[in-house]
Amino acid sequence: MKCPRCDSEKVRIMTKSPVGDAWEIYVCDHCCYSWRSTENIQISEIFKLNDEKIANMGIIPPIPPLKK
């Protein structure tokens, strides 16, 4: 299975429904997208991710320098 947002194959089952066999939740370990097996996932072009976008993302809040 591929991640619908970044096409990575580093996708795993995060969990299954606590009641019955209703659904599974998947998560992409590359871009952190998560979704349910019962969803019809259609990600807009603007929200698709690739390595370049991930590398250039802003960091909130900034990490302060270590104090000795």
Binding site: A22, F47, L49, I60
Partner: protein, 480 residues
């Protein structure tokens, strides 16, 4: 005695009695049903809270739109549900001055949030019916969680305890992402922990009494304790809190439905988002902090409380509307006692309407300048409308009347270019700079000439009596 709610369940019972809570008894799908119902509730007037009793695949129930109408907001304050916004404003303003009211610290066995404890095989999906709120969100979010954190430098100082609402993404069964913006109190605490490469302990409360959520979404000063404000807004009745299990200096609402405890992992950031936000547009992906969950306590059959967020008005706007207006009112009123009321409810105070008595010519514009020099008004407020003291600034029909009958654009409409602006306002360019628009819709007073003064209609003194009669008759008719 003001009606004060012990916990979320107590408030939900009142909402139901007042016809301001509906139950969805049929099973719903997590997507798209719950997000869609949240949007739908935002679209209709006097909207009730919505309790979903059964969500496909999950154990427990879920409630949304708890604060999502002026009726529910009035009931939160223990007022009759038809209380006008202006009356709610003055009541809040009165209670605000009761700060500080120290919280009541309960023993562990008195706190209902401790009924059940999970320390192994933690899985949020076992406890919470999580769902995607808006279609392009990057996952499942907690949009109405009160996050409690302390100052690592002064852990014993309860005044530096912070209770705030931050957007939280579920990253794994026992991991959450949190968004502390650099201006938020928790970011100050996190920086102190990260400088030493230490984890920052946090507790997250879900499903709390309505004024706790209200205060958690109010920006107060860093050394003002939100729980002491809750006591003030409960008209002097202390907020009940209890010590967290995993951290001695964190206190949580005693009867919360669910308490998640853990710590922010220091010096690491992970992809978070996208997430549909309050201006009605998405905020994209960024790298943010994550929380490792170490313990969950919860009430038996916990109710998950969450909110829909999107283009105004949504539940979010009811939560931040009056608590943005009141601090501005207090600041302006301190030097300009003629000011009657401040409505800063539009997109977090970007749009503001102030009613004031006009002491002398040009006073209306002076009030606008005063607003634009307050700490919040300087960056945020962009469109300022000033109306006479008898115009209710919360009644937009009256405000439109003032604009249409009092404004001469060539002298009353002023644009001040190149001032400070609000970064998240998409029309601010460069981000953080903006023009200011002042519309003075007050009646001219000397020395400003008023060449066509008019004779105002004066309502009969019997009008309030008749308002009351009509209200009661209508109320009786609705009950049939």
């Amino acid at each position: 005695m003001t009606k004060v709610y012990k916990d979320l369940r107590d408030f939900l019972a009142t909402l139901e009695e007042e016809g301001q809570l509906v139950r969805i008894k049929e099973e719903v799908m997590p997507e798209p049903d719950i997000g869609a119902a949240g949007r739908a509730a935002a679209n209709i007037e006097n909207s009730p809270a919505i309790l979903f009793e059964k969500v496909n695949g999950y154990n427990y129930s879920l409630v949304t739109n708890v604060h999502g109408s002026w009726r529910n907001h009035a009931l939160m304050l223990g007022l009759p549900k038809d209380t006008t916004i202006k009356e709610q404003f003055f009541e809040l303003n009165r209670r605000w001055d009761k700060f500080p009211v120290p919280p009541k610290i309960l023993a562990r066995e008195e706190a209902l949030c401790k009924e059940n404890v999970i320390t192994e095989n933690i899985n949020l999906f076992d406890i919470l019916p999580l769902y995607r709120i808006n279609e392009q969100d990057g996952g499942f979010f907690l949009s109405k969680a009160s996050v409690i954190s302390g100052d690592p430098e002064f852990p014993e100082d309860l005044n530096k305890l912070n209770v705030g609402i931050y957007r939280i993404q579920v990253k794994d069964v026992d991991r959450l992402a949190i968004q502390p913006m650099p201006v938020h109190d928790i970011a100050i605490q996190l920086a102190k922990a990260e400088e030493k490469d230490e984890p920052l302990p946090v507790a997250i409360a879900l499903g709390v009494s309505p004024l706790v959520t209200f205060m958690a979404s109010t920006p107060v000063a860093y050394d003002q304790n939100e729980y002491e404000f809750v006591g003030a807004l409960q008209d002097g009745v202390p907020c009940e809190i209890v010590k967290a299990d995993t951290c001695d200096h964190l206190y949580v609402p005693a009867h919360a439905e669910v308490i998640i405890e853990g710590y922010i992992i220091p010096r690491k950031r992970f992809v978070e988002g996208a997430f549909g936000e309050f201006p009605g547009s998405y905020s994209g992906c960024r790298k943010q902090c994550e929380i490792q969950i170490t313990r969950i306590t919860h009430r038996t059959k916990p109710i998950f409380e969450n909110l829909y967020i999107g283009m105004p008005w949504t539940e979010t706007d009811y939560l931040v509307g009056l608590n943005t207006s009141i601090p501005l009112y207090k600041q302006i009123k301190a030097t300009m006692p003629e000011v009657v009321a401040v409505n800063a409810m539009y997109t977090h105070g970007i749009g503001v309407i102030i009613s004031t008595k006009v002491r002398y010519g040009g006073y209306g514009k002076g009030v606008a300048f005063r607003l634009l020099s307050t700490p919040h008004g300087m960056p945020y407020s962009k469109i300022v409308i000033i109306v006479d003291e008898y115009v209710d600034p919360f009644n937009l029909e009256q405000v439109m009347w003032a604009l249409t009958t009092r404004v001469k654009p060539s002298k009353d409409v002023v644009i001040i270019p190149n001032c400070s602006g609000m970064v998240l306002d998409p029309s601010s360019n460069p981000a953080g700079m903006h023009d200011k628009l002042i519309i003075d819709a007050t009646t001219p007073v000397a020395p400003e000439p008023n060449p066509r003064s008019c004779e105002m209609l004066v309502p009969s003194p019997a009008t309030p009596k008749w308002e009351e009669i009509l209200r009661q008759l209508q109320h009786a008719a609705q009950k049939k």
